[in-house]
């Protein structure tokens, strides 16, 4: 294969290191170079780009039947894309995932630039563009590590001091007896799913999962003869029908579990907890009342948001939304904040490391929903975009002037 420029690049790489002091060091270095050199190859770059295209294409088509969250998890936020035959447990990696391709590209980018780095006006644009890209990939990594999004639902005229997860579930055990606050012990769904006995120093009883359903339908027991789901609480009148976990767009899983509470003195009974029924059940023990509830995982804030007014306008004679806006009051006793502000489309509220976006409204505008995002690295893409754009404009401008000079000399 005639490929003069590629080989010349590689030759430069091979000759790069300065002459080492001793033969041993030299040999070791040479071995190291031989191992590392492929990482700088342009072929690797192109291979990664092409594989990334295939991945993005397949991951896009998949979203016809797969909810965006799961598509992202399967194709992009993963090291490998796995395939498993229908109804089987085992799976095989069939394609590199987004993490893997991103990491290889990042290493390739850094390695190539470290090896070939020369500071010249001719290359400045290229170098800048790639530094910007490195920033962007790193930003993507940080975001996938540290960002968290959740939603906050507030009724008209109501107040909220927590956001809840879009997908994660927790079993909350709440002691409301302290005067100034509630004591909440939260058990995450994966812990419940292990079906073990759970102890917590703040709880006078243990919690054992008898059954856990990632997705279930809860209905009135059809016949009295059928066994009830639970011995205590509303579960005594209900039956649970397990449902397959769904990953389709616009559907969600509603988890359910049967838990057994036991004290040192013996079992207290079995309760059915489920997300489908959105209210707590009371457990009385040792003269205290505890609320238990299976719900979307909550993130409490040291401040609260009151919804003064929700506006939802449509263009006259159409269903096209013209404006969604939530007029809110933010009260933060710790930081002495007490102010009114407006959150609407393309105009979020950034507060205390989190950003509140107008997300949707529920039940004929009775509730507003904010998406609440914590993403410490949100500035990186802005920065990287500027750097890459500047680099590309510089580089292509450089080429263009050269071209015109030659043509119209």
């Amino acid at each position: 294969m005639a490929n003069p420029s590629a080989t010349s690049v590689e030759r430069v790489i091979a000759e790069r290191p300065s002459a080492p002091k001793s033969a041993e060091v030299s040999a070791a270095l040479n071995t190291l170079i031989r191992i590392l050199k492929p990482l700088t190859s342009l072929r690797l770059t192109i291979a990664c780009l092409l594989l990334a295209m295939v991945l993005v294409f397949v991951g896009t088509l998949a979203q016809k039947d797969l909810d965006a969250f799961y598509a992202q998890k399967r194709y992009f936020n993963s090291w490998f894309v796995f395939w498993s035959p229908a109804g089987k447990d085992w799976r095989v990696p069939v394609f590199p995932g987004g993490f893997l391709l991103g990491t290889v590209l990042l290493v390739n980018l850094i390695a190539a630039h470290v090896w070939r780095f020369t500071l010249s006006a001719k290359k400045l644009g290229i170098v800048l563009a790639h530094i910007g890209l490195i920033l962007m990939l790193v930003g993507g990594l940080f975001t996938s590590l540290w960002s968290r999004d959740s939603r906050m639902v507030i009724p008209q005229g109501g107040t909220s001091n927590y956001a809840e997860s879009f997908k994660d579930t927790e079993l909350a055990v709440i002691d409301r007896s302290p005067a100034d606050h509630d004591e909440v012990v939260s058990i995450s769904a994966p812990m419940l799913a292990k079906e073990q006995t759970i102890q917590h120093p703040k709880l006078p009883f243990t919690i054992k999962t008898v059954q856990f359903f990632p997705n279930a339908d809860v209905n009135k027991r059809a016949e009295e003869s059928k066994p009830a789901a639970a011995t205590q609480g509303f579960g005594t009148r209900l039956a649970v029908t397990p449902q397959p976990e769904t990953t389709r767009p616009e559907q969600e899983n509603l988890a359910a579990a049967v838990v057994e509470l036991s004290a040192a003195s013996g079992p207290l009974g079995r309760w059915l907890v489920c997300e489908q029924i959105n209210r707590p059940q009371t457990v009385s023990f040792g003269g205290k009342n505890y609320d238990i509830q299976l719900r979307r995982t909550r993130y409490y804030k040291p401040y609260s948001i009151h919804l003064n007014k929700l506006t939802h306008e449509e263009y006259a004679g159409t269903n096209i939304p013209k404006n969604f806006a939530s007029d809110i009051r933010l009260v933060d006793p710790e930081r002495h904040e007490d102010r009114d502000t407006l959150i609407y489309m393309n105009h979020p509220l950034r507060y205390h490391g989190e950003t509140f976006y107008q997300f949707q409204t529920l039940q004929n505008d009775k509730f507003t929903v904010f998406e609440v995002v914590r993403n410490p690295s949100w500035m990186l893409p802005y920065l990287s975009c500027l750097i890459v754009a500047f680099g590309l404009i510089y580089q292509f401008g450089f080429h263009l002037t050269k071209f015109f000079e030659k043509r119209f000399a």
Partner: protein, 612 residues
């Protein structure tokens, strides 16, 4: 003489365009133009009645033209007058297009032959159409969530829904005027009826100070009749809003075929509007002119002329025809720009707000880039490419316009001129440039393989053009895509969500980057660059249209159904072109000839020595 041809030709077209700017006088005694200019609110936007008439005709029958029972062509405004004021006549006009044989069979049709049917002809089948639509809608729902996307609906069902939507639109248009008001007034459930009609009215004719407060005739009537809403001592007709009364006068005059009275009523109403609502008229009057001029239609004709001129310039008179094509291209660019800017001014928006305007913009951007290329290289390639892409994008735009008003109101999330002006423009420029590179590459392949016209300098200039344009495309698609991410971060709190539209843009960036790296690494040369650029067309088409079809069926009636097949066809054609481009160079007619010449030269150089 020959050297003046380009100027003469351009001048002729300028005169022709100026003549198209004149609004033709009404064909009847009724001043239909003045009527068509009247401002109304429809689909949330203030527009002249003429626009409502044109977009409705496009949605109902796929054409802006219609003729009456005597086969006399009606202007859209004339048709609108019938629909609003003389519905019994309008019902007999063949306004519904039905092309599906299945639908025609189902309505088994004592229907007259042909594609077009009147409301009158469809009336006996309305119940059946309603029943079938209900079935079709059920088929489109997903009861269990198991495999029930749009594909669950059969072609017949999608077609029946289209017909149903057209009938609904037609009825809503008719409900815009107080037809049959006396009968409704006498009925027992009068209140409910009027309330229903007030909701159904498609066009709001009663002006208010704020454009979103305009009322339909029925709303205005309800308001007048509300207890305490009027002076009870006067008859109802005198308490009505002046606009309602004005339209009533027009309708009476129209129905009694009294043209002078009609014209007088329109003129008086117009004067009243100028006094009280003058601020609205500037734009609606302009839009009326804009509609009549049809700038994009004129551009399509011009692009065809440019295409022929540029093509023939490669056969005869390269200089004269080449220059003619170029100057005509500049003229067309002016008209195209005029259309684009007019739309921006009418909407108070940056150039791209929906799929329709993206097609207009891509055609415009390619045209602009090609003018620059042609100015530099002067070989007709720029003109030919501009003409091809201009014609095709405007044709696509025309088909998209069948969906309804092309200046629709923007939903809340898109309602930001800053991001529309930056992200959307940059990304669309990226699309345009990637398409342009692909088109240039197609010219390279076709001329190289099938003709002997691809000589070394031409090949080299095409190589430079494609490379330069790919650089341009990389810059704009990258910046556009990242700006999109930043917009998403501003409005949804995430920079990147691997959403289909985002992925489509990312694919373009990745592909352009791949081309550049492959070229820098020396993995591809001229022909490889061309083949990769052609593949860029497939990537861009997927991003532009393909991702919109993912949920195909459920939310996309009309053009999108057919567009899916067109997209597949387009992709296949590009693959065929790449296969052709993959033929070894020695079999390309252009290079075979060059090789022969080279061999002959070598021979000639060698022989004397051998003889010696």
């Amino acid at each position: 003489m020959k050297r003046h041809v380009p100027w003469i030709l351009t001048a002729v077209f300028v005169v022709w365009l100026l003549s198209a700017l004149r609004i033709p006088a009404p064909k009847s005694a009724f001043n239909t133009n003045a009527f068509g200019k009247l401002p109304v609110l429809a689909n949330g936007r203030l527009k002249p009645l003429d626009t409502v008439a044109r977009t409705s005709l496009l949605m109902l029958r796929g054409k802006q033209s219609i003729s009456d029972a005597d086969d006399r062509a009606l202007t859209p405004s004339e048709w609108m007058m019938d629909v609003l004021m003389r519905p019994s006549a309008a019902d007999k006009l063949k306004v519904f297009v039905i092309t599906s044989p299945d639908v025609l069979d189902q309505l088994h049709a004592n229907l007259s032959q042909g594609k077009y049917y009147s409301f009158h002809e469809l009336q006996p089948y309305l119940n059946e159409i309603e029943r079938q639509s209900a079935l079709a809608e059920k088929a489109g729902e997903s009861p269990t969530g198991e495999k029930a996307s749009g594909s669950a609906q059969s072609l017949f069902q999608r077609e029946i829904l289209k017909l149903r939507d057209r009938i609904v639109l037609y009825n809503r248009l008719k409900s815009s005027w107080l037809t049959g008001v006396e009968e409704h007034l006498r009925s027992e459930d009068f209140g409910a009826r009027v309330e229903y009609l007030a909701r159904a009215a498609y066009v709001r004719i009663v002006p208010r100070a704020n454009d979103q407060d305009w009322q339909s005739a029925w709303q205005s009537l309800m308001e007048t009749m509300r207890v305490g809403g009027r002076d009870e001592s006067k008859p109802l007709s005198e308490s009505l809003d002046p606009a309602v009364r004005a339209y009533a006068t027009m309708a009476n005059a129209y129905n009694s075929k009294d043209a002078p009275a009609f014209n007088d009523a329109v003129a008086k109403y117009r004067t009243a509007l100028e006094t009280n609502f003058g601020k609205f008229l500037k734009k609606t009057d302009y839009e009326f002119r804009f509609n009549a001029f049809e700038p994009f239609y004129q551009c399509m004709i011009l692009y065809v002329c440019i295409f022929l001129l540029a093509l023939f310039s490669w056969l005869v008179w390269p200089d004269v025809l080449g220059r003619s094509a170029f100057w005509l291209l500049v003229l067309t660019f002016v008209v195209h720009t005029f259309g684009l800017i007019s739309r921006m001014w009418l909407q108070d928006r940056p150039p791209v707000t929906n799929l329709y305007s993206s097609a207009i913009f891509i055609g415009w951007a390619v045209c602009g880039l090609c003018i620059i290329l042609e100015r530099i290289f002067r070989n007709g390639i720029g003109s030919l490419t501009a003409a091809t892409s201009g014609f095709i994008t405007l044709l696509i735009a025309h088909h998209l316009s069948l969906e309804g008003d092309t200046m629709e109101m923007l939903r809340a999330v898109l309602d930001t001129n800053f991001w529309l002006a930056t992200h959307v423009v940059a990304v669309t420029l990226g699309y345009a440039a990637t398409f342009l590179a692909g088109l240039l590459a197609i010219i390279y392949i076709l001329r190289g393989v099938f003709t002997t016209s691809l000589d070394k300098p031409t090949a080299k200039s095409l190589n430079n053009m494609v490379y330069g344009i790919v650089c341009f495309a990389t810059l704009f698609s990258f910046v556009g895509t990242v700006l999109g991410g930043i917009w998403a971060d501003q409005s949804w709190g995430r920079f990147w969500g691997f959403d289909p539209k985002e992925n489509g843009a990312l694919l373009i960036v990745l592909w352009n980057a791949t081309i550049l790296h492959a070229r820098w690494g020396g993995f591809i040369r001229e022909r490889g660059l061309m083949n990769m650029a052609v593949f860029g067309n497939i990537v861009t088409a997927f991003s532009w249209f393909g991702v919109n079809m993912l949920g195909a069926g459920l939310h996309s009636y009309g053009f999108m159904d057919q567009a899916y097949l067109w997209l597949i066809g387009f992709d296949i054609s590009q693959i065929v072109l790449m296969i052709v481009g993959g033929i070894p160079l020695r079999h390309w007619r252009s290079f075979a000839k060059q090789a022969e010449t080279a061999a002959a030269v070598a021979d000639a150089a060698f022989r004397p020595a051998a003889v010696r």
